[in-house]
Structure formats: structure tokens, C-alpha cells
Symmetry: C2
Subunit: 548 residues, 2 copies
């Protein structure tokens, strides 16, 4: 029974370990189902057995405490098994983003010092390109689902299901220190090498507990509780699928894993398995709500948390029309990830009209329990919660990465004054809701104050003649930078307003408290067309070059 026998009088110093979450799940929902597409289903009781067998199998391949095991797979029951078995052994699960370039993947596996790779056969050609330069990797376990290419030229040490079949039903998972590293993955910016973040057992357990409370104990829209049916639509390699598989397991919900994302299969699973709770980026939701098939099925029991990019009111309204409950979740790779959710407070329920609710669910959100955030100026001083003062968003929570692995210089930029600096800028309103408005590199810095380019763009867009707008900072001798608005007018409104008229419109907005006074631009440029990137986004880099 006891992993360790303690002398009489000595208490068990209970560590917060991932295996303790699984223990609760087995008590609450041993017969509940885990489903993988239309190919596999098992009970939590079986899941537990497979987790023990996976650990036994990995152990037989030489995996021991402290080793890193890299996992390449679609969203599946196998990935869920890895979420538990690998850290429960005391090893570290590396989630590999197989959408990165081969060179980036090579870098991350070497940097993480992974010794074993578990990989879906579909990705073997990718692995074959880099195998000989993976200096730490000793063993490869392949998941055979579709046909495996014969000619990949790789030495395969085991097949996943055979490995499990050959192992014992029980593995003696040790009582680890709760600060033992459990998971790692890499985050890529626009410049520089990918950065390795990592999370301990304690961090993952506390993230799970807080997120479960945030989603279940507060009465508001879009609740996720034990009677829900969960299906992730954010890849499991992406920040532990936002940590929801751990929450779903603790709650003992039915879990559905969709494999490779194919709209028809996703909609079919939602219907046939009764999926009620998911999370995804706006693009996936957009794809689903505009799919002709979506009109054929009942989505009125579906609740979706949107993150990764801004949820627009247009998309939120389109989803609501199909009966889907949507709201924003916010976080970063560095934050495990959940920081905030944009649901109404219990005390707001019944007091919001449809428009107010729509405007609330597209905000960045209210911190989940135990999370603290502030927006701070350049000196690190917190700004007032007035909905207009813009500063860098900083966090504290029990589950923030302690550092970038083997990157002390980058860690010094991340952690300053005891707060994790997000690189996002935004403002907090009097109700405590955060609105992220920019990445810090796009913000306009003037006389020690920050102006959000998004706020200026949103503000000018309310003028009936304006078609599109971009705000950039241009160098200024006195203030460092001053905002410049570059605007196109609607075809039929070309003579409705001039630059002075638009400036007066902005000044009036400042008088009404919608934007700070110092944010009113001296110059507003009317142009025929705004410079855009190849994917249609505003090209602010080009604008800064052209108009500075």
C-alpha cells in the first residue's frame, strides 16, 4: 500500500503529483469512456491499466527518472496516456509541435535532450530527415495506425501497442518531489531559437484544480463539469491542450479525441459522441460554423472556449446563432497556459443584455482563482483599473514556467521584479477584466505613456466614413513617439470627411473618456490603400518604414 513506510509519528508529506489526479478519476468514474475517433474506446479503468503498461514498457526501454520522452502524435488516447504515464514515472514528457520545420524540431529535441521518441507512423518521414543529427535519442517507439512507409531507413525499437501488451498491468509509480519537472515544450517567436518552457507536477496539479473551479464552481455561462463530454480542438502538443485533458480526467468526464482535424469527422464526433465542451483557435471555429454540414447538426449543447487569437464579435455572434456558447480563454505557452476566462461574474448574470454579453465574451477575461495580473508602466508600477490606461501585462500564478530551459538571458527578460512579463499590452477595467490590445512591439510609446494601436483603430472605425485604419508610432523629438493614424474611407464616403474632421472625431472620443487625451494623433493620413502582408494582415513594419 504505502510506497514508503514511515516510522510512527512521522506524517505523510503529501506531494501534489499527477498520479493523485488519476487516483481521484478512478474513484469517481471508473466506467466512463475515453474515445479515439471511430477506432478505439476504453473505460478509465482500462486507461489506468494502459498507463501502467506504458510506464512498464518505457521502463523496459531504459527510461528512468529525469529522462525526457518526446511525443509526436495527433490528439488521441495514446497522447492522453503519455500525459500521465511519462511524468508519473518521474520522466519528462516533451510535446512536439509537428507543424514546425524539420530544423526547428531537430533543435527542440536536441535542446530538450530527449532520449526516447514516441511517434505516429505518419511522421516517420519527417523524423527520417533529422534522425542522424538527434544526438541524445536512443530509442524510437512507433504508433502504427496507417501504413508505415517501409523506406524510412529508421531503426524502430518498439511498436506502441506491442510495448503495452508485453508490459505488466501494474507499475509502481514513485512518490516524487512535487517540484519534479513533468512536461516541456518549445515556444517559437518571430526571431531567435525556440524557447523551452517546462512545468512541474505541483504546477500542473494546481493549474488543474484552479481551472476546474473556474469552469465548474462559478455559476455563469459555458460551464464544464463532470456530466460534460470533452473533445479538444487545440492540439495536445499545444500547451497540454490548455490543460483541459487533466481537468477532464479529474472530473471523470467522457473524453473524445479526434485525431487529425477533419471538419466532417469533428462534426460527426460532436453528434455521435454527444460532445458538449471544446476549445480551439478562432480559425477552427470559423471553419466549423461556416461548414455547410454545421447547418445540418444540432450544436446547441456545445460550449467552446476560444484562445490563441482574438475572438471577434462577428465570429462570436455567428456561433451564438447556431446555439453554441463561446467565450475567450487567455494564456501563453509560459503560463501552462490558462490565466483568464471571459465569462460574466455570477453577480452580472441577468443584468447583461445580448450586446453587453457579446462584448464581454470577446474580452481577454477575469483571472482564474489564484492568478494575479496587472498592467504596468515601464517602471513596473501598476496602472489604474480604469479600462483605458495601457501597460504591459504581468502575471503571478502557481503555474508559470520558472525559466526558459538553459536560456538565462531570455529568462531575465521574462521574469522581472517578481512578475512574469507577458510581452502583451492592454488595460484592465473597473470590474477586473483584462483586454489585451497589442503585442508590446506594436504599441506606441509617447512621453512615458503607452497607446494601444488597437484602441486607436477601434475608435476611428466607429466613424461612419472609415473603411480601414492602422495606427503606428512615428519618431518624435519631444515625446519619443507620437501616434499616426493611416485611414482609408468607404468608396461612397470619399468626400464625407477630411483629416481635420477625423482628428476632431478622435478629440471628442478623448473628451468622452474612450481614449486618453495624449492618444489623440496630431496627424491622420488619408490613403487609397493600406499596405498588407501576403496573408492579408496589416503590414505595420512597412508602414513604419514608409511614414516615419
Amino acid at each position: 500500500m504505502a510506497e514508503q513506510t514511515l516510522p510512527a509519528g512521522e506524517c505523510y508529506d503529501y506531494p501534489l503529483l499527477i498520479k493523485k489526479l488519476l487516483g481521484t478519476a478512478l474513484l469517481y468514474a471508473a466506467d466512463q469512456e475515453i474515445v479515439y475517433r471511430d477506432r478505439f474506446r476504453c473505460s478509465y479503468r482500462d486507461l489506468n491499466r494502459r498507463i501502467h503498461r506504458l510506464a512498464g514498457g518505457l521502463s523496459s526501454l531504459g527510461v528512468k527518472e529525469g529522462d525526457t520522452v518526446a511525443v509526436f502524435d495527433y490528439d488521441s488516447n495514446r497522447f492522453l496516456e503519455c500525459f500521465f504515464a511519462i511524468p508519473m514515472m518521474g520522466a519528462v514528457m516533451q510535446m512536439v509541435n509537428w507543424r514546425l520545420s524539420a530544423a526547428q524540431i531537430e533543435y527542440t529535441i536536441n535542446h530538450a535532450e530527449a532520449r526516447v521518441i514516441i511517434i505516429n507512423g505518419d511522421f516517420l518521414p519527417l523524423l527520417a530527415q533529422i534522425r542522424e543529427r538527434l544526438t541524445w535519442v536512443e530509442k524510437i517507439v512507433v504508433i502504427v495506425e496507417n501504413e508505415v512507409p517501409q523506406e524510412c531507413g529508421l531503426t524502430i525499437d518498439a511498436e506502441y501497442e506491442s510495448l503495452l501488451a508485453a508490459a505488466a498491468d501494474t507499475y509502481n509509480f514513485p512518490d516524487l518531489d512535487e517540484n519534479t519537472k513533468a512536461t516541456t515544450f518549445y515556444t517559437t517567436g518571430t526571431t531567435g531559437d525556440p524557447k523551452g518552457v517546462h512545468f512541474s507536477h505541483r504546477q500542473l496539479v494546481l493549474h488543474t484544480l484552479s481551472l476546474a473551479i473556474a469552469l465548474g464552481s462559478y455559476e455563469t455561462i459555458g460551464r464544464f463539469r463532470s456530466n460534460d463530454v470533452y473533445m479538444p480542438l487545440t492540439p495536445m502538443f499545444h500547451v497540454h491542450a490548455w490543460g483541459l485533458p487533466y481537468v477532464a480526467t479529474l472530473l471523470g468526464t467522457k473524453q473524445v479525441y479526434p485525431g487529425r482535424y477533419e471538419p466532417e469527422m469533428l462534426l460527426r464526433l460532436i453528434v455521435t459522441e454527444g460532445v458538449t465542451a471544446s476549445h480551439c483557435v478562432p480559425t477552427i471555429l470559423q471553419m466549423l460554423v461556416t461548414s455547410p454540414a454545421a447547418r445540418q447538426v444540432d450544436l446547441s449543447r456545445w460550449k467552446v472556449i476560444i484562445g490563441g487569437a482574438k475572438l471577434s464579435t462577428g465570429l462570436a455572434a455567428a456561433a451564438q446563432e447556431l446555439g453554441i456558447v463561446v467565450y475567450t480563454g487567455y494564456g501563453m505557452s509560459e503560463t501552462c497556459p490558462v490565466i483568464s476566462l471571459s465569462t460574466p461574474k455570477t453577480t452580472m448574470l441577468g443584468r447583461l443584455n445580448d450586446d453587453q454579453l457579446l462584448n464581454l465574451v470577446v474580452k481577454t477575461g477575469l483571472p482564474i482563482p489564484l492568478v494575479e495580473f496587472e498592467v504596468v508602466d515601464l517602471d513596473g508600477t501598476p496602472l489604474p483599473h480604469d479600462g483605458v490606461s495601457v501597460g504591459e501585462v504581468v502575471f503571478r500564478a502557481p503555474w508559470l514556467t520558472k525559466d526558459y530551459f538553459k536560456s538565462p538571458a531570455k529568462t531575465r527578460e521574462l521574469w522581472r521584479d517578481g512578475w512574469l512579463h507577458s510581452g502583451d499590452v492592454g488595460h484592465i477595467d473597473a470590474d477586473g477584466y483584462l483586454q489585451v490590445t497589442d503585442r508590446i512591439k506594436d504599441v506606441i510609446k509617447t512621453g512615458g505613456e503607452w497607446i494601444s494601436s488597437l484602441d486607436l483603430e477601434n475608435c476611428i472605425s466607429r466613424h461612419p466614413a472609415v473603411l480601414e485604419a492602422a495606427a503606428i508610432g512615428v519618431p518624435d523629438d519631444k515625446w519619443g513617439e507620437r501616434p499616426l493614424l493611416i485611414v482609408t474611407l468607404k468608396p461612397d464616403q470619399q468626400s464625407a470627411v477630411d483629416s481635420d474632421g477625423l482628428r476632431e472625431f478622435m478629440a471628442e472620443a478623448a473628451r468622452q473618456g474612450l481614449i486618453p487625451r495624449y492618444a489623440v494623433p496630431e496627424r491622420i493620413l488619408l490613403v487609397e490603400q493600406l499596405p498588407k502582408t501576403s496573408v492579408g494582415k496589416l503590414n505595420k513594419r512597412a508602414m513604419r518604414k514608409e511614414f516615419s
Copy 2:
């Protein structure tokens, strides 16, 4: 902003502190109400200000980190303020059970080394009896609510409300080590001195998180969520009112504190304040459901967790008839206290008929998240979860007292083999539900096996002729002890059955698997009357003396 400024690159090592729970409450429910009888109400925002002022006031009296402050009060907003302010300062809140004898109270205050006492004026005569023997106490703060006796002869250093009024609105609560002791109180057994248990910030935070999930995230009966209205009916000095005030605060629910328990006031508060969630011992529930006033009011929104003594199916049924949802909560002073709740699993919902549900809610229950329990034999080996194998109940959880304060010998009995030994015996069924059946001193120990006296009594009670029954262990040369059943028959059934017939009835129960074979007594005594104590309980001590 930052209590401490850390160098760049150093992460904030987030401690699990009680002040972090309060921070979340303020974000989620600043305007929600805290109510004390018909005498006081304030918002969470005000509660926070009062907590800061209380800390400032106590600091002005010399309270510093590590000091113990003893609190004597009825259930009130003041007690709630103490729940936060005292531990948040780094001091220890001692909850004093003012129902103990003066000598016991004197012992506990001296043993805890309390330096300051906060006391309701009603208890000053009690304090006056022992004041001169309280060797550590330096200051006394009185709560003036009713008239304070002039002649108590005590030196009073401050009045509670004046102390708050004189203090500043903000107190700089330190970032403590999460293992700092936060609360303490004393548990009294039938023999020996009271024993001091204590809980750290980490333990109270984890207890709060797990209990919030247990009560909110699992879909089943009797949920406690942010839209509930909470009123304790277990005194706040009794194991932190089961920790529910911390849960209620985290969730930002409306909280109602009833002061001294008076049935009419309790019912009036339930109605006028819309109370939906409470907890109490069976006696209080009995008093309320049998009160004539209960028939006049609508209790159909009320959910009550019952603990402290066994909830009978009769009382549960009577409460259900009034529309009240009742179920069992289990724990001990040593366990913070919650260990288990007796609600159906989500997967059982809709599959239980009324009788099955009634039989389930009177069980001891299923562990809340992170709790592990087993029943073990005398060697500490866990017994099968078959619903019949009886052993001592042992626990693991992140919130069990680490020791009895300054009592190493008693601690060695409590913590053995890394498990907290409860002194309760019982069995666990295949679904994982625990049923406590005895205190260990009442159990019958035979040939290395344990037989629950309650199980034998329940079993024989199913015989239609039996009125009352008591099971005791009597010495046996071969087996150590053997069970003896002492039985009275119903007046009109005196000749319906004899001792042999009853024995055959028990043997049949063993054949059906309702009790173990070795539990069938060789001897069943028919008597006219069972020995009882002055309060009407079975007097097993007298029976063991008489029949051994």
C-alpha cells in the same frame, strides 16, 4: 505592488497562502454581501477593508508573526474576519470551543501559548474564572454586542470595533512560507488532556480548492456554487466550520452568520436571506425539521451537509419530505476536516431509486479529490473493497494535521506507516464508498479479524421480532474475542422466535454475504431490557462488564 522585489530572471515562487483566496473573492464578488443576523451587513469589499483594519489593530496591540490569537465568538462576520486577518499576518488563529469546561479552556489556551484573546462580551464571566492562570495572555479584545458585565474584574485592552476604527485601511500582509501555521484548536477525547491540532496556509488552501471542486464541479445532488447563499450551522470554532467559510469566500457567495443558534432566528434567516447551503450535526437538523415553524416556511431550496454523528435514514427521509437535500460529510478534527461526501457519482444519477439514494446519502462517503483512504487490518494491510471487510480507517490528504502540538507520544499513535489512523473502523464497498461502523474501542476483534458491532446490530434488527440489539465482544480463549448479541423482542413478538432462531437468521445473512461468516455469534442472549446510559445510549461498558 510586489511585496518583495526580485532580481531579473528570478521567478516568483508562488506560495499557497490564505490571502490569495481572498484576492480571488474580491475580483469575483466585491459587491456580494456578508450578513450577521439582523444586525450587520457589508460587502466583500468592506470585509476586505475590515480584515486589513483588524490586522492593523492587532499589530498595534503587539501581535507579530508566530503569535497565537485565541478567538471566542458566536458565528459572525467578526469570526470570518479573524479567519483571514490573523493567519494573513503570519499569526495563528486559535478557535476556542466555549462549550468546554473552564478548566479545559484554560488548559488549551495555555498549551497553545496564546498571547491575545478576542472574546465576545457574553463569555467574559467564563474568562474571569481562569484569567489569572492564563500564563501567556497579554491582551484582551472584547466584542461588545450585548451588555458587558461590569463586575468581571478583567483588564480589557481594546474593544473590537474601536480597534478596527482606529486602524488604517490597508495592512501590508507578508508573503509567508506556505507551511506557516495558520490555525489551531483542540480536540477532546473521553480520556486525557485535549490535543492540539493545527493547519498551515498550504493545507487550508488545498482543502478549500478540493472541497470547492467536490461541491461544484461534479454534477450530482446538493451542489454548492457561487450563486448559493451560505449559512453555517456548525460552530466556526469547530474545525473552521468544516472549512466552508473559506470555500464560500473563494466562490464569492453571499454569506449569512447566525450568531447564537436559536431555531426561530435560524429559520427566519433562511427565509429572509434566501439561505440555500448549510451544514450541521443531526441534532440541529432534527431540531429544525421538528420545529412547528419549519412547516410554515419553504425549505425546498435548502441543501444541508450532515456530519459529526451518523445521519439516520429516518432523519434524512424527514428532511427530504420538507424538500431539503441532505447528505453526509465526514472528517475529524485532525483532518481539517473534510475527507468524504456521500453524494452519488455523476454516472449513478438517474440510476438510483429513492430508497437507493436514501441509503447512499447516509453512508460515510466517497473521498473528495486528492484524498486517499483505506481500511486496514492490524498489520496495516489494506482490506478488499467488498463492503464487508472491516478494518481501521486510515487517510492521506494534503491537509491532515502533521502532529498533535507538543504531544509526540500521541502523534506516534496518530501517524503510523505514513497513514493517519482515524480510530474509526468501517468498510469500503466496490464503488469506493466508505461506511464507518464503530469507534475502534467498540469493535469486536476475533482471530485477527474485526467485526463491526453496528453491522451485527443492523443485521439482527431486520428480523421482524427484534426490538433492540447490542453487539459486544466477549473474551474467548481461542479467538481472543467472540461476538455476543444481546437482544430485546417487541412486546407482541415475545414468543415468535428464540435464541436458536435468531442465530439461524444471522447464519442465513452470512450465507447471503451480508456479514462475514466469522461474524455469526455463537451466543445470542434474549433479555428484558438493555443497559443504557443517562442520555439513553447503549451502555456497552456496562454490558461488557455484566456479560463477559
